[in-house]
């Protein structure tokens, strides 16, 4: 009798769990699992919305590998990612360290430094258009004219277009990294610093010999996050330059968007999206490898 009851309780428990999960899992199944399979099957066809899709195997993937355009979009995406990842992490860590160190005003400075992250991508793109405006009335051009220099064409000049898009997001968008570094730094036990102080360690030594090594897992996590975000960049390119001039700011996701929703090349766009997925998967695997050797405080 007792075991029967327990069985019933356990069984009903499992049933309610599945019942409660059923609707969320259904939604997730349709818009994630089913979508993922559909995307993959589309990527094996030459579908362009106009004619019937026909199976062409891995041709799209082969085309992507052979296309010289692929190298260009990956190069642009990697440049963007490197600048953003390095910039956000260095600035974020420095600001986090200073915020944790100062006796007063942490909250105010934190709010001022964090807030550009709240700005929508559309407004962010508008700010790039304003700061690096190619007209002589733009922000940077005004400075150049004040200094007696010639105004530049910024994002309309293929040579410096990509850099013009990178600078503003790089120096303003580090807020999330900063918060994570702050939490990481606060998680390091104070006793370690006190012991180091007794041994006569300077603040710089404390930072390089204690904070930074113990922060390594956080640094890796932040770098991987920035890299993944970086590879998925779309807004600045789409809204400011639309990939131009002469494709100097075309990136992977912009290319996916253009192939899919402008040229209606659904097959090619899906294949390109899977290539992006592969790249992101590789980055994540590298991260897991790096994080394998975990550091403890003892």
């Amino acid at each position: 009798m007792y075991t029967w009851n327990r069985y019933k309780v356990k069984y009903s428990n499992e049933l309610t769990a599945y019942k409660l999960l059923s609707i969320p899992l259904l939604i997730w199944g349709i818009f994630f699992v089913f979508a993922l399979f559909r995307a993959f099957s589309i990527s094996l066809t030459d579908w362009n919305l106009l004619k019937e899709a026909s199976f062409i195997g891995a041709t799209n993937y082969k085309d992507i590998l052979m296309d010289s355009e692929t190298l260009n979009i990956i190069k642009n995406t990697v440049i963007w990612t490197l600048f953003i990842a390095i910039g956000h992490n260095i600035i974020g860590l420095c600001m986090a360290y200073m915020l944790n160190d100062i006796p007063k005003g942490e909250k105010v400075f934190r709010a001022l430094l964090y807030w550009p992250v709240l700005v929508s991508l559309i407004v962010g793109a508008e700010m790039i258009k304003y700061i690096f405006n190619p007209s002589p009335f733009g922000f940077m051009n005004s400075i150049l004219i004040k200094l007696g220099l010639e105004p530049l064409a910024w994002y309309q000049d293929p040579k410096i277009a990509l850099m013009s898009l990178i600078v503003f997001p790089m120096i303003t968008g580090f807020g999330i990294k900063m918060l994570i570094y702050q939490a990481g730094l606060k998680g390091i036990p104070k006793t370690i610093y006190e012991a180091a102080k007794l041994d006569g360690a300077t603040p710089w030594q404390q930072f390089t010999k204690i904070s930074f090594p113990l922060l390594k897992p956080v640094v890796i996590l932040n770098f991987v996050m920035s890299t993944i975000e970086g590879f998925r960049v779309l807004a600045p390119m789409q809204l400011v330059t639309n990939g131009g001039p002469i494709k100097s700011t075309e990136t992977v996701v912009l290319s996916i968007y253009k192939h899919g929703f402008v040229k209606n090349n659904m097959g090619y766009a899906s294949a390109l999206a899977f290539v992006l997925f592969g790249i992101i998967l590789m980055i994540t695997i590298v991260q897991l490898r790096l994080q394998g050797e975990d550091i403890s405080y003892e």
Partner: protein, 277 residues
């Protein structure tokens, strides 16, 4: 030694002030620009730290031309609905995964979390096609339903429920309370903090969303406020269009800034807890 610390703090304050200034200044110039008068003509190489003639009327004109009222209402409806419904889902899923012992619990969690690794761009095309097939393009449902199972939120909720002692739930079970009642009377009241964190972060993210609405909406009367800003991009732009655009931009920023200022602490907690936005 004490003097050294003071010098270090002063240097840090200078750095933080300069850097904070960099974060604010370009936006400040946009605010100034949004207040310039209609016949304002900029002088070459000149910065305007204060409007020549303050003209708040620009905001009214911008509001009207871009139909920002409509955009605001659309954003408010769809962002609120999305955040509220997905909040219910993440609490229930987070609770079930954290507290229910059932076969496949670990599997469900790992599979759901691995969703985070797949770039959303892969799902654009199949989800667009699916919504087109069921005739959901140009509806709010197309904006709300696909992302309802928010894995970031589930992670947040699961972490939270792990900290709640089983004894609270067990006593309710012994009293014979039904599962739905437990969820309604115990789980939801308990999850106040996690819902607040989730709400604030998700609300601002969704408010700023533009690419998915751009894909599934073609009728401008359904546009969220972010897409309404496109109105200020006529083919031949005048100085006044620029001023109106500045005003429109500031208007879309206001709700997010207010939410952030009020709930700064929750923001910080949520982000440093999950390492995610």
């Amino acid at each position: 030694m004490n003097n050294k610390i003071r010098v270090r703090h002063i240097i840090f304050y200078i750095f933080l002030s300069v850097y904070s200034f960099i974060q604010i200044f370009p936006f400040y110039l946009k605010v100034v620009n949004s207040l310039q008068s209609k016949d304002f003509v900029p002088v070459l190489g000149q910065f305007y730290l204060w409007p020549e003639k303050i003209n708040f009327g620009n905001y009214a004109v911008a509001w009207k031309t871009a139909n920002l009222g409509r955009g605001y209402l659309n954003s408010l409806i769809y962002v609120t609905l999305y955040t509220a419904i997905s909040a219910i889902i993440i609490v229930i899923v987070g609770y079930v995964i954290a507290k229910k012992k059932f076969k496949g619990r670990k599997f469900v969690f790992i599979v759901l979390i691995s969703t985070m690794m797949v770039p959303g761009e892969i799902l654009f095309i199949p989800n667009y096609l699916f919504l087109r097939d069921i005739n959901w393009l140009n509806t709010f449902a197309a904006l709300i339903v696909p992302g309802l199972v928010n894995t970031f939120g589930i992670f947040l909720a699961k972490q939270f429920f792990m900290t709640i002692p089983d004894s609270i739930l067990e006593s309710a079970h012994i009293d014979g309370a039904s599962e739905l009642r437990i969820i309604r009377n115990i789980i939801f009241p308990l999850s106040g903090p996690v819902i607040a964190t989730y709400f604030i972060i998700t609300y601002t993210n969704m408010w700023n969303e533009y690419i998915w609405p751009k894909i599934v909406l073609t009728q401008s009367k359904l546009y969220p406020v972010q897409l309404s800003l496109h109105t200020f991009e006529p083919t031949f732009k005048t100085q006044y269009d620029e001023i109106l655009k500045s005003a429109g931009m500031i208007v879309t920023l206001i709700p997010v800034i207010i939410v952030f200022l009020i709930f700064q602490k929750k923001f910080v907690e949520g982000i440093s807890l999950t390492g995610n936005k």
